[in-house]
């Protein structure tokens, strides 16, 4: 098993495999992802493609369990399955914790923009801001496709791909330090709250 020397994003792979995984994620383009995929499907699609590139394994999404059952359809997953008690049970997103460890507990996940944990392939999860909002959607999820750091290692920009509900096209955006709207990590959606950063490690 290879673990990054700096502790970021261990995916239980050899170093060459891991590099292939990241190269695959980095090469993803919204136009090449079926627009029938919503945000969670898009995250899993990118993971699935990267696993294929890294290990040759097909249909890695079948490694994912939801409510005790293995996924048989890539689209049978929602953002709501990837945080809180659902994620603790399903063990889909392994969150970076504030103390530097990783766990499936999203409650104390690393939520910082300037995080040493973020790299290509990291996923970011959002939850509905209120119980009322939760009536309309279960959450949101994105995949990091690029991170820019300054000479001191501070994050200056985070590129990501996201999918949307109702057959809307996938989009690629960039979070910036003082970004607003699409470019704001914390205010990406006014009715969502950022849960934190993690990895899909299955």
């Amino acid at each position: 098993m290879f673990t990054d020397p700096d502790g970021r994003a261990p995916r239980n792979m050899t170093e060459p495999q891991r590099n292939l995984y990241k190269a695959s994620v980095q090469s993803q383009h919204p136009a090449n992802i079926p627009n029938k995929y919503d945000c969670a499907d898009t995250v899993i699609h990118i993971y699935n493609s990267a696993m294929k590139a890294a290990t040759g394994q097909d249909n890695s999404y079948e490694n994912i369990s939801k409510n005790g059952q293995k996924l048989t359809n890539l689209q049978d997953i929602q953002a709501g399955d990837m945080f809180g008690t659902s994620n603790a049970k399903n063990k889909i997103v392994n969150y970076y914790q504030n103390d530097g460890t990783q766990s499936y507990d999203s409650s104390k996940a690393d939520r910082s923009f300037n995080s040493p944990n973020i790299e290509i392939g990291t996923v970011g999860i959002y939850k509905p801001a209120t119980a009322e909002d939760a009536k309309y959607f279960s959450g949101h999820s994105i995949t990091v496709t690029g991170v820019t750091r300054d000479k001191n290692g501070n994050v200056t920009a985070i590129n990501y791909i996201e999918g949307h509900m109702n057959n809307h096209d996938q989009e690629e955006h960039t979070f910036t330090i003082n970004g607003t709207g699409d470019s704001s990590l914390y205010n990406k959606y006014s009715d969502c709250k950022f849960v934190g950063w993690g990895e899909i490690e299955l």
Binding site: Y126, D133, Y136, N166, T180, K188
Partner: protein, 149 residues
């Protein structure tokens, strides 16, 4: 007789002075309003830049996110027309239609009570006022135009 003439002249001059003073005061208020409106407009543009990309996942779920994007664009046009003292009735009509469509799509209450529309307009108004110098004020008309459509 001479005394009466002098008194009449004094009264006339006093009246003229009062009248001039009143006109000057009215002019000051008018100038103040124009000046304030210009300031509000500048602050509005800054607020719009901050919040123009405001999005709601709930609107996406209701397939109303494109309607909301249209709403933001037309609302911006209406405010520009208003601040430039131009007719904004066309924008007002388009906005009302968009609000109705958003209300139907989201199955929420009508008008500004719609959570998404209210949130957007409140943020813009809050940001616009927040950055105004404390000695200035925003007119009721301005506030109405911000929140009524």
């Amino acid at each position: 007789m001479k005394k009466n003439i002098i008194l009449s002249v004094i009264i006339l001059i006093t009246s003229l002075l009062i009248s001039c003073s009143k006109k000057e005061h009215e002019k000051d208020i008018h100038m103040q309003l124009i000046f304030d409106k210009k300031d509000v407009m500048e602050n509005y543009f800054a607020a719009y830049e901050i919040h123009k990309e405001m999005k709601f996942k709930g609107l996406e779920a209701c397939e109303a996110s494109s309607l909301f994007e249209d709403y933001k664009i037309i609302k911006n046009k209406l405010l520009i027309q208003y601040f430039n003292n131009q007719d904004y009735s066309n924008e007002k009509e388009i906005l009302n239609n968009l609000v109705n469509k958003i209300n139907i799509a989201t199955d929420l209450t009508d008008g500004i009570d719609n959570y998404y529309i209210f949130s957007y307009n409140s943020k813009i108004l809050e940001e616009t006022i927040k950055s105004l110098p404390s000695s200035y004020y925003i007119s009721i008309d301005d506030i109405k135009i911000f929140i009524n459509y």
